[in-house]
Symmetry: C2
Subunit: 582 residues, 2 copies
Amino acid sequence: MNKPTPQSDFSTPKVTTGPLPASRKVYTHPKADPSLSVPRRMIDLHPSANEEPVPVYDTSGPYSDPSVTIDVEKGLARHRTEWVLERGGVEEYEGRDVRPEDNGGVSGKHLAREFPTKHRPLKATNFDPTGSVALNPKRTDADREANRKPVTQYEFATAGIITKEMIYVAERENLGRQEMLENAEAQIAQGESFGAEIPPFITPEFVRDEIAKGRAIIPANINHPELEPQIIGRNFLVKINANIGNSAVTSSVEEEVDKMVWATRWGADNVMDLSTGRNIHNTREWIIRNSPVPIGTVPIYQALEKVNGVAEDLTWEIYRDTLIEQAEQGVDYFTIHAGVRLAYIHLTAKRVTGIVSRGGSIMAKWMLAHHTESFLYTHFEDICDIMRAYDVSFSLGDGLRPGSIADANDAAQFAELETLGELTKIAHAKGCQVMIEGPGHVPMHKIKINMDKQLRECGGAPFYTLGPLTTDIAPGYDHITSGIGAAMIGWYGTAMLCYVTPKEHLGLPDRDDVKVGVITYKLAAHAADLAKGHPAAQIRDDALSRARFEFRWEDQFNLSLDPETARDYHDQTLPKEAHKVA
Amino acid sequence: MNKPTPQSDFSTPKVTTGPLPASRKVYTHPKADPSLSVPRRMIDLHPSANEEPVPVYDTSGPYSDPSVTIDVEKGLARHRTEWVLERGGVEEYEGRDVRPEDNGGVSGKHLAREFPTKHRPLKATNFDPTGSVALNPKRTDADREANRKPVTQYEFATAGIITKEMIYVAERENLGRQEMLENAEAQIAQGESFGAEIPPFITPEFVRDEIAKGRAIIPANINHPELEPQIIGRNFLVKINANIGNSAVTSSVEEEVDKMVWATRWGADNVMDLSTGRNIHNTREWIIRNSPVPIGTVPIYQALEKVNGVAEDLTWEIYRDTLIEQAEQGVDYFTIHAGVRLAYIHLTAKRVTGIVSRGGSIMAKWMLAHHTESFLYTHFEDICDIMRAYDVSFSLGDGLRPGSIADANDAAQFAELETLGELTKIAHAKGCQVMIEGPGHVPMHKIKINMDKQLRECGGAPFYTLGPLTTDIAPGYDHITSGIGAAMIGWYGTAMLCYVTPKEHLGLPDRDDVKVGVITYKLAAHAADLAKGHPAAQIRDDALSRARFEFRWEDQFNLSLDPETARDYHDQTLPKEAHKVA
């Protein structure tokens, strides 16, 4: 499995294209802006059903559209550049040069090929990427504010402006809701949303208002124009995230691009590139240029590579430079563990599993070595300035999340969560979009406490949780131990669920693991949508149940989250075609 | 896959034996009766851990004990016969002759070989298996009562008598609790059991009291002396059931015996034999004679085979004869759909998925054909007399359970549940042990309503649910959609969870599916135990988490529910032995 990526051998990543069975991609055009084309997948049923096609949310981008020619060497169409430019407040500039350390210092045949086209990045016009306030003390707050125009979705929202992204996501979320409108109120009423405020119909104004309140985000870096915008918030469909990424020992650029496309094919709304090995910069560029979904990263991972893995050698300047590097590439959200404060480290001393977050333990090591507060915390406002300038959303990391049932909901975890609440306020004041990361490992009876505290501390900012795993005793099945917790916390109000694959705790996920993880989390998110009373969620369940009751096997396969597996399992027992007809 | 079972080809079933990795079977001897040997699995840790072995509940019977010689042709040791005989009230008798229709009328090479040894059955001395009250009108209630001595665990419990089975299960449940006793109260206090009354330590008297209150059962037919007794109730560890069984088109006796042993190896506390094809009688005999766990059946399935699959042709007499046949073999619990009443059928008319329970739809068909009340309902007291005579426990079936999200918690389902409450009272008055079956397909926000209603209607009788599935859109992954619901309803108070395999709705589970189903439900049951605050549940989580934190890979594998899969997943990425040492 030890696969370096020799430049000479590097081939064009192969990705899976084409529609899912019985599915057509259609584009709808919102009334508020008919120039926009919003994707939707329609599943056609057998004529004997005499039923309308079933609309489902489509995260797969142009890859599943047979009318689009896919060329991974060119990347996806950059349709959103125009949206960003026409509203102003941004400018193109030269951008940072790629340096050898960005790719872990590899060269020659070990260096992954650069993405063929280089795009000049955009930034907020008032932002100086060459230096922060700290590095450039001559620049005053007055200078900065003089040129300040809205750049982020949060700034537009608070200014009362509805962006194209907001119109797009409103149309996208409504999926089937128009058809369900008659009983939308009834659906919402029969659900239990624990105080969420799900409307019968999503309007662009509702989207704007939720973003302005800090209760939802549209992760959409101005340098990721290939993106199909999507909204994350408690009053919208529950979203899922799939982690991919190479490591020091395994996998290649080709594999990671393929995994990204593969994950979105099965329903990943977001993808995090957690690469930690060599070629981090070039791998990320290939991924972003080809990604129809937001890409998140944990910048401290790359910063650590730049100091050869020695946490103590990290500096604010190296970290800052990494943020600029990734923001220019188009990363849509950064996990930043700014809530791990020096004062909290001792709270983990008696834990069964100490600090398990990689980012959290890197920063703890740095703080203990320097006996000083984390630079992520002390430079938090500078970080906000950078993120605002590109509209990179915050994913405030839970560096002290519990790594075991024993450590759930302890003093360390909750101290950090309270700090994340403070930082949320600062980031909003600075114009940034914010979501909050959550645990981890939590037994069922302690899950709702997490959700309630997060809503309270963070003023309703979207919660983004990893599982949580509801027991520690099933390695190899942690997609399931965590899928239980994910469905529950999604029901309670979590806006996005980070998937866990069967390889969690054991190894790196391969393509099959990615698929199992995505499908598991898709079903957990959907179970949450049903329980919350989402007006359109049950359309698909009902269509599939009718197909099942009427023995329309093909329809049952086609309506399922994973038609291939459903068909395969059926055929293992009853392979005859005759068993499949209505 | 179409495999008949030619008599000539029939070979001795091959079953999996031997201990799990790093595991030893030990037997403890309860203070209340040191002659009893109660199994427990001890998992030894690496010397570097400097930790005590971890005790885990062991359902695998003698198969995992290297000191026992397994001979499937002879069956397991019949250790419990003596317990039953010494307390009196029962007598050996000739028993019913096996008839061709018991095996679906097959003969010659299609007939599965009979189990080599025939044992004369036991019955309550006051019971006449040749005729019920209806068939034998001369017998009066007075006759019956004159000879009545306690036979069932419920009768002993209400008479204030502690049986060996009660002592056995108390010892078995306490697993590790003695060692945890110091903080047992604290563990219970930090849990949320929704009003269950979990004691810090399980005494035989507590077991007796719970059974007498109808809140727990020990399924243990007096003709299944091979059994290692186990208790099912809300104040005990959550149990799981695995379904096996052949069908008209697939699988053989050998496969089913192997599946039973395989399921218990991975943690099935109970096994239901849902065979519907030919050779039902002989298959069941092989299974029971080799089963260390209670075996349940749905007798209407075999009764239907006896009338060539024509539901309308069923009669009380055929059904009654089937109950006697199976009770004499030693089936420990019967699913009986006596709550499906004629008046409820119209309540299913507007459902999306009508009646999906096989037993429920058989009886609905019968009632509609005859325009008369179900014989299961009208003969319920006669059924009680039979079940009491062998101590077969009731598993009152939910024939009107919802088959889709759309049908959850509807009038049909709840009307039946109310009737099951009435029948519970009758069965208790007749001296029988009772548990109640539950759904099915239920979205998360409607699960607790089921649990609360069941507790209310059925006076705390153990609830035994199938999942429930929390969405309908993931065929191929229904072990997960249902594992979510199972963990939640287990937490809320369900005593036993019937597993769902990945093949649910699609085909019959093979050996691999059985294992995945068992492990999924084991982890769901354990998640429920943790959340309820079971005093000893977290011992294993903590031990595994410590191993994980200290990179003791071997310990992590060995402590997991499925060491083989955990090891395999690890080795796919990091195969070197060096990566596994502490």
